[in-house]
């Protein structure tokens, strides 16, 4: 029972943080809300016995990616209209809202069949770094893992080449 209470609390908090992200005018506020959302999600991962993913979430998202965002915002020196409410949504924004709503409705509808699925207790050592690491390095996901490293290198080089004025 306690776990359920914790789960719903965290889930609602994550959703609220998400709503805050998409409704702020000031990008800094949005970014900070995003960090909060990431943290709540990390907590959800812990509840789901995904310890390694939770740690990575905090390190990569809340740490690295958010710093990057905040850094770019500062670099651009954007002045959002502090505190002001969002203007009346344009026609296109209204259509966008409707389409996104459709996607959401579809997703939720398609989940109906899973309403009664229960989860048993997790096995010993489930989701530990040892288990995840073993799966990656015993060969099952070794090639995708190496490809991911190449992708990150390429992205890094690409970002530097794009952003630098002169090389």
């Amino acid at each position: 029972m306690l776990q359920a209470v914790i789960f719903y609390t965290l889930a609602i908090a994550a959703v609220i943080a998400g709503v805050v992200v998409v409704t702020r005018r000031n990008p800094i506020s949005a970014a900070l809300a995003l960090v909060v959302a990431f943290f709540f999600q990390a907590a959800l991962y812990v509840l789901l016995d995904a310890h390694f993913v939770a740690v990575t979430q905090v390190l990569v998202y809340a740490g690295a990616i958010m710093v990057l965002f905040v850094f770019v915002i500062m670099l651009l020196n954007l002045r959002g209209d502090q505190g002001a409410a969002l203007p009346q949504p344009s026609a296109r924004a209204q259509v966008g809202l409707a389409v996104a709503g459709l996607v959401g409705t579809g997703l939720v509808t398609s989940l109906d069949a899973l309403r009664r699925v229960d989860m048993g207790p997790a096995a010993e050592g489930f989701g530990t770094i040892q288990q995840v690491g073993g799966l990656i390095f015993d060969g099952t996901y070794l090639l995708p893992f190496e490809v991911a490293s190449v992708l990150l290198t390429v992205a890094m080089v690409g970002a530097v080449v794009l952003a630098k004025r002169e090389i």
Binding site: R92, V95, G96, V99, L102, V103, G106, T109
Partner: protein, 683 residues
């Protein structure tokens, strides 16, 4: 020998082809030719090692097998990139790489025309690629790999026939070879599909597994003599008629002489055209189950041999004579395997590779010396000017006419005798009682006599008598000799050692090749029937009997054939050396005009195909397939779709083509919503 080395045999020529292609124009004739020759020589060394390993084991080692990796795995069928070297493969490997290496070496000397200097690299790259494909064909341990090689050699043949593609006729000859082969390949594929389908759950493409399955459960393909196995065997043989130039698909081979002469020697005489015989030998266990198909193969082989020989009698282009002679000799080989004498047929493949490659290379040397003159009427008396070439050609001539003691004598004689002695029940084309073997022997013997005549004619016209060329040398082939760099006029000259050395080696092989498989009436320990014993395990699953005739007849029949051959040689000598002046008159008196013109015009087979097959196909393609189906239906549908899209786009573009990324994202999301709802509804 470590079986893993088998993989290197085809790897060397492939590497050579890639290397030369990468170097392209930077590789001169000598560099490209040197690389190509070296690569094939390395393959040859490994091939001889393979042969030695298998031979010295005296049957203890059945075969070498090396699996490189798994290629395709679907359901119960697994196809590997794997090589199998049993005695049959090993002998063929040695022929392909050994003769191939000699021809490569010769080509370095042959391709010295400055007009080709920019493209010799292409020639050697293709040549190496061909050796690679040929090795795949013979070494593949399953049908699929063999088929890759089968198509690969066809491609290389096409590329090399059309090597001088700026000459439209040559390019057309390449196309003709390729398309004619496609007809055969189509039949081969259907046969393969039927075999695969018939095996059902036991389906396999590996030769070894197939052999085991069919020997254990012949009922899968309808049992011995069943309709299904007969159909499969006939369809596979259809593929062989294309590749090995038999009736009805032989028409491409004479035209294939458009390629450089070493190509004719390697591909269109020694190796590729024998792959049909190789395929039937490889599948002997299957063909032995279909006596009707065997009868068809033997009959087609014998008829092709005779038919091609009649054409070769009157041709004046030296390479055309050799081309028809090749078709004729291939017919002999099919006669051999058709009557069930697989070893004899295959023995002839080997000896033919020696002497026919020698004949082509010798002819090439003559053509080279005559500055691309191929008409025998303009030659003559060349023996005194080209002693080495002429001498080796005489050896090849003796071998092909079957002069006693030469390699051709033993192989041809074995085919003829085993044809005569074959059990008629094995060739149940016209029922088990019909004396088909005797009839085929008669055709074979007559062909042997005709072979002796036209080959003697070739040799006498080219090397004996007075020289008829040299004046008013009309340059029909676009290769002017001033550009040739030899600095002297029109007199023919001996070729360089680079070219005559391979000739000498091949001459030795043509002379002594018979030692591989001496007949039983010459008893030499270790040599008598050596090839037969060596190949025995390969053909063990295809037992054939040869007791259809009294064995005391063997030597008298041979004597009879020999007499016919010598008579033919004498007639040729009388006509072309003794009294060349009376030739036209003699011909007019003795030979009916229709026969002569028929032979000269190749019995109008090309014209017949043109009128009955090609014209209608072209007509239907132009008037129906192109004008209606393609232009109206296909183009209409394609253009209509494009037009419809354009209309839609004009409307939609106004609305959605805003250039803003979010509009596009919205369309994307809407699509996602549709898919998600489809999931939600569909469960």
């Amino acid at each position: 020998m470590n079986p893993a080395l088998l993989g290197l045999v085809p790897a060397f020529p492939l590497f050579g082809a890639i290397l030369i292609a990468l170097l392209n124009r930077k590789a001169s004739r000598v560099v490209a030719g040197g690389i190509a020759t070296l690569m094939v020589s390395m393959s040859a060394a490994l091939s001889f090692w393979t042969l030695a390993t298998l031979w010295s084991s005296h049957g203890a080692l059945e075969s070498l097998h090396h699996r490189l990796y798994e290629w395709i795995s679907v359901g119960g069928v697994q196809v590997d990139i794997a090589f199998l070297a049993d005695p049959l493969t090993a002998v063929m490997m040695c022929v392909v790489t050994g003769v191939g290496a000699l021809i490569h070496l010769y080509s370095v000397g042959y391709m010295d025309d400055p007009a080709d200097a920019q493209s010799t690299w292409r020639f050697f790259a293709y040549l190496n690629l061909f050796v690679f494909a040929m090795l795949l064909l013979i070494m593949g341990d399953n049908f699929l790999l063999m088929f890759v090689g089968w198509e690969g050699v066809g491609l290389c043949s096409y590329l090399l026939i059309g090597f001088w593609y700026k000459n439209t006729d040559f390019a057309k000859a390449g196309k003709k070879a390729f398309i004619t082969n496609r007809v055969g390949d189509f039949s081969f594929l259907i046969g393969l599909f039927m075999l695969f389908w018939a095996l059902g759950d036991q389906a396999t493409l590996s030769f070894v597994e197939l052999k085991g399955t069919l020997v254990a459960q012949p009922e899968l393909v309808g049992g011995h003599g069943g309709t299904l196995v007969t159909a499969i065997a006939l369809l596979l043989f259809g593929g062989a008629t294309g590749k090995s130039a038999q009736i009805p698909l032989f028409v491409w081979l004479p035209d294939a002489m458009a390629g450089p002469t070493p190509v004719s020697a390697l591909i269109h005489a020694a190796t590729m055209v024998t792959s049909g015989i190789y395929m039937i030998s490889r599948l002997s266990f299957l063909f032995a189950m279909a006596p009707v198909a065997m009868g068809v193969i033997a009959t087609v082989g014998a008829l092709t041999a005779l038919f091609a020989a009649t054409i070769a009698m009157t041709q004046t282009d030296i390479k055309k004579v050799l081309a028809y002679s090749t078709v004729s000799q291939l017919g002999y080989m099919f006669l051999g395997v058709g009557v069930g004498a697989f070893t004899a047929g295959f023995f002839h493949v080997v000896t033919h590779a020696f002497f026919k490659a020698l004949l082509f290379l010798g002819a090439g040397a003559v053509i080279h010396a005559m500055h691309h003159e191929q008409d025998m009427r303009k030659m003559g008396g060349l023996l005194s000017k080209m002693k080495i070439t002429g001498g080796t050609m005489l050896v090849a001539w003796l071998a092909i006419i079957g002069f006693p003691g030469t390699s051709g004598f033993f192989s041809k004689d074995e085919i003829l005798w085993l044809t005569f002695a074959a059990d008629p029940a094995q060739l149940a084309l016209f029922g088990p009682e019909f004396p088909l073997p005797k009839l085929l022997w008669i055709i074979g013997a007559i062909t042997a006599a005709m072979t002796a005549f036209y080959m003697s004619r070739l040799v006498f016209m080219t090397f004996f008598g007075a020289h008829r060329g040299g004046h008013g040398h009309d340059d029909g082939h676009g290769h002017h000799d001033d550009a040739h760099g030899h600095g002297h006029g029109h007199t023919p000259h001996e070729v360089s050692p680079l070219m005559w050395a391979p000739l000498a080696v091949l001459a030795l092989l043509s002379l002594g090749g018979g030692l591989l498989n001496l007949p039983h009436w010459i008893h030499v320990e270790g040599l008598t029937g050596a090839l037969h014993h060596f190949l025995e395990p390969v053909f063990a699953a295809a037992p054939m009997s040869f007791d259809g005739a009294d064995s005391s007849l063997e030597l008298p029949l041979m004597g009879l054939t020999l007499l016919m051959i010598l008579t033919s040689v004498f007639i040729a000598w009388y006509l072309y050396v003794r009294n060349p002046g009376d030739l036209v008159q003699t011909k007019d008196e003795l030979v009916p005009d229709l026969l002569y013109r028929g032979s000269l015009h190749k019995w109008w087979v090309d014209e017949l195909y043109e009128a009955t097959l090609i014209k209608p196909i072209v007509l239907v393609s132009r008037q129906v397939l192109w004008a209606v189906v393609d232009a109206e239906l296909v183009d209409g549908a394609v253009n209509g779709a494009a037009k419809a899209m354009r209309r839609i786009s004009e409307v939609y573009g106004e609305l959605a083509q805003t250039g803003r990324v979010q509009t596009y994202a919205m369309v994307l999301a809407a699509g996602t919503a549709v898919i998600v709802f489809a999931f939600a509804v569909g469960g």
